[in-house]
């Protein structure tokens, strides 16, 4: 993370990165301490890893929707690819006496690579389209990935790895089914932990924020803001859009791997259109291009349905009302002015220090 100080004030990029890292680190420390004191309810404990996974999904989708400016409706597809890859890899390594952390790391890296390659391949045709057409085609690809997962059967035995499109794998007695078509993956060893999730969230933030704050990131945003102008100064629009899309897919695969290894079962149908839209809701409510907004939105909107359980049948109604309220309030110009003034006032006071020591800092 590069600290950029212009005219004695932190650049907006740096300020936003500090906020993002700060939120995540403070939340992790607070939750860990409370957990150690036994103050965290089982419900929240069970949600910690999914929250991390959804943060990764939201931040990575923000790279495409917010930074690159393309509406993608198939993000759950990459999550699915990452999750099932990680489950298969982890299942194959189960027999070896590798430490759990190494197995988890390898599974996550494989998940990210497979999803990234998939994102690259899908990106080539998809990113030639614009606007609504792009949204529709990404939606289609998300569904295609889901439907492919519905017919994939994989298993492992002493002869090695088997992968077919029908359930008749011819496994030995001692063999084990890893993917079972629509029945998904069962008896998955749960390797994900909150700490692992925290580290992956930090990696995601590091990647996305550094891209935003780099030459490539500025090129991506230039293509978003004015495609013709960007092309006229010689930027290869396709290349930059593809870069954002591929990185986003790889990160989504990582998030999916974290998610998949947190549950003992995972069905392909979990990663349907609704999940893609859910992630998009996190991004839109958090603010397009606003990374820490995505983090907060993903966290709150994951916890909220559980908190609202006391309203019984009216739970989803209350959830919808909260969504509408958030939309009204965060996008109301008055609230925006108020928070902006508030932020500026508080930051100006702190910013005075680097101004005074400006010479030493640079």
């Amino acid at each position: 993370m590069k600290m950029k100080i212009k005219n004695g004030r932190l650049s907006p990029y740096t300020k936003n990165s500090i906020i993002s890292y700060g939120i995540v680190i403070i939340a992790f420390v607070v939750v860990s301490v409370l957990n150690g004191m036994g103050l965290v309810s089982s419900t929240l404990q069970g949600q910690l890893v999914p929250i991390c996974a959804y943060i990764i999904m939201a931040v990575s989708l923000n790279l495409v929707v917010g930074i690159s400016g393309e509406l993608s409706l198939g993000h759950a597809g990459f999550m699915s690819a990452g999750a099932f890859t990680a489950i298969v890899v982890s299942g194959m390594l189960e027999a070896s006496d590798m430490p759990v952390i190494a197995r988890f790391a390898i599974a996550v890296v494989c998940g990210a690579i497979v999803a990234g390659v998939l994102g690259f391949l899908i990106g080539i045709p998809v990113l030639r389209l614009r606007g609504d057409y792009l949204a529709i085609v990404t939606l289609a690809f998300g569904e295609i990935i889901k439907n492919i997962m519905n017919i994939v059967y994989a298993g492992v035995d002493s002869h090695g790895f088997h992968l077919r499109a029908n359930p008749d794998l011819g496994l030995e007695e001692s063999g084990r089914m890893l993917l079972n078509g629509p029945m998904g993956a069962t008896a998955v060893q749960r390797l994900s932990t909150f700490t692992a999730g925290f580290v992956l969230v930090l990696i995601t933030l590091f990647v996305v924020q550094n891209i935003m704050n780099s030459k490539q990131g500025r090129a991506i945003m230039a293509c978003r803001d004015n495609r013709i102008a960007a092309e006229s100064i010689g930027l290869n629009v396709m290349k930059y859009k593809l870069m954002a899309f591929t990185v986003s897919a790889a990160l989504a695969g990582m998030g999916g791997a974290l998610f998949g290894l947190n549950f003992s079962t995972l069905l392909p149908i979990k990663f349907n259109f609704n999940t893609s839209v859910l992630i998009l809701v996190f991004v839109v409510l958090g603010g397009l291009g606003n990374i820490w907004g995505s983090i907060i939105a993903a966290t709150i909107l994951t916890v909220l349905p559980e908190v609202l359980r006391q309203f019984a049948d009216y739970r989803m109604l209350a959830y919808a009302i909260v969504l509408i309220l958030v939309m009204i309030f965060t996008y109301s110009p008055k609230i925006k002015n108020f928070t902006q003034n508030f932020m500026e006032n508080t930051f100006r006071k702190k910013d005075k220090k680097p101004e005074a020591e400006g010479g030493a800092a640079v």
Binding site: M183, A187, R309, F311, I328
Partner: protein, 395 residues
């Protein structure tokens, strides 16, 4: 400007207040039916459950809940030592949410788990009950994976492999030499699980599947392609290991194309007669394998159906009976094991496992003399019914 903003805020605040008042009403109604007669200070056995109460699969979750609540009310009226407190959370048939609902129940102080209702969610949640040593009896999660490797999980319903095998045996015995076609949902674990086992068993019995057509979850409006394939293959029996909503469309479209095979369903077909807007004449002659026949002349069944109709104004389906049976099986085993409600979960769990695997037998609505093996699978006889005159008739 400023006043309009304040006004807007007030309107929203009022709307919110209204929602919360409604929600409070809903909530109190909800818990009221669960713990009838639960006096303060009396010993309480907390049985938790989780199932889809909203969304596409909610009919199953709601039926289980209502059946279970009838059983709880009956037990609480006659039991003097302790009262059962029953709480059911909504998991929308989703694995991720079933973890949340189970953890919610854990915070509530669950002692025995009656659930979860759907298969996928159950596999996920039962991994947690296994870790926490909470005894679990699922009324309706039917995959073999639900109980595999977990000594604390038991089923009231048949497993999917069992259903596929029993259906294959029945068809092979009763319709020898006839051409059999299958239409199944290849993105549904339930449907694919039954089909795969049906196919293996039927072929090992020397039968031949003339045509097997699949459809994905998303297309549930048009099955003419699958039906045409059945018709051109000359299938006289069409096996439908699917839920009743798509089955109803299939029957309608088959009639429109003048194709009249014998449709053979499994327990997912149960409920087709109560479907809104469905012409029951279309289901005439449909055969289905179900453990529960609400029109049976059995005394216990008749009493349950009468009570259910009086309370909820509808005919109970098999899931309601499963929920009722699950609560009674848990209660009987709990009493037979001589457990008391203040024992820790681990002790209750171990004693219940010993009870269920040690020759415990229960006569329920969904089968007489049910026993359980050490894998957690139930042993009971399936009933094949045929729909005649808008009701089930035992075969």
């Amino acid at each position: 400007m400023k006043t309009s903003f304040v006004k807007k805020f007030m309107v929203i605040a009022l709307a919110l207040a209204m929602v919360f008042t409604f929600a409070a009403c809903g909530g109190s109604n909800d818990s009221g039916s669960g713990d009838d007669g639960g006096e303060a200070g009396a010993a309480v056995l907390k049985i938790g459950s989780s199932g889809p109460l909203t969304g596409g699969a909610s009919i199953y979750g709601v039926a289980v809940k209502q059946g279970a609540e009838i059983a709880v009310a009956e037990i609480n009226a006659q039991e003097s030592d302790f009262q059962i407190e029953f709480k059911m959370e909504d998991d929308e048939a989703d694995g991720e949410k079933s973890v949340n609902t189970y953890n919610q129940l854990k915070d509530w102080g669950i002692q025995i788990m009656m659930g979860t209702v759907t298969t996928g969610a159950c596999i996920t949640a039962s991994a947690l009950t296994f870790e926490d040593r909470v005894f679990e009896l699922t009324p309706s999660a039917s995959s073999a994976d639900v109980t595999a490797g977990k000594d604390n999980v038991f089923q009231v319903c048949f497993t999917d492999p069992n259903q596929g095998i029993k259906a294959a045996d029945y068809i092979a015995e009763n319709f020898p030499g006839q051409k059999v076609g299958v239409i199944y949902n290849n993105s549904d674990p339930y449907s694919t699980g039954i089909f795969n086992n049906f196919k293996a068993e039927f072929e090992s019995k020397g039968g031949e599947i003339a045509a097997a057509e699949k459809y994905p979850d998303d297309t549930n409006a048009d099955y003419s392609a699958q039906l045409t394939s059945m018709k051109s293959a000359g299938a006289e029996i069409v096996f439908l290991p699917i839920y009743y909503t798509p089955a109803s469309v299939i029957m309608k479209q088959a009639k429109d194309m003048n194709y009249a095979p014998v449709f053979f369903g499994v327990d997912g077909m149960d409920g087709i007669l109560d479907m809104e807007g469905f012409d029951t004449a279309l289901a005439e002659g449909v055969m289905l394998m179900t453990p529960f026949n609400p029109w049976s002349t059995d005394e216990a069944v008749a009493a349950f159906v009468e009570k259910y109709q009086a309370t909820y104004n509808e005919v109970p389906n098999q899931f309601a009976a499963d929920g009722y049976d699950a609560i009674y099986a848990l209660y009987n085993a709990f009493k037979a094991a001589g457990l008391s409600t203040d024992q820790p979960n681990e002790e209750i769990c171990d004693a219940m496992i010993a009870q269920f695997t040690g020759g415990f037998s229960y006569d329920g609505l969904t089968g007489a003399a049910m026993t359980w093996n050490d894998k957690g699978e139930v042993n009971k006889t399936p009933v094949v019914c045929v729909i005649e005159g808008g009701i089930y008739v035992d075969r």
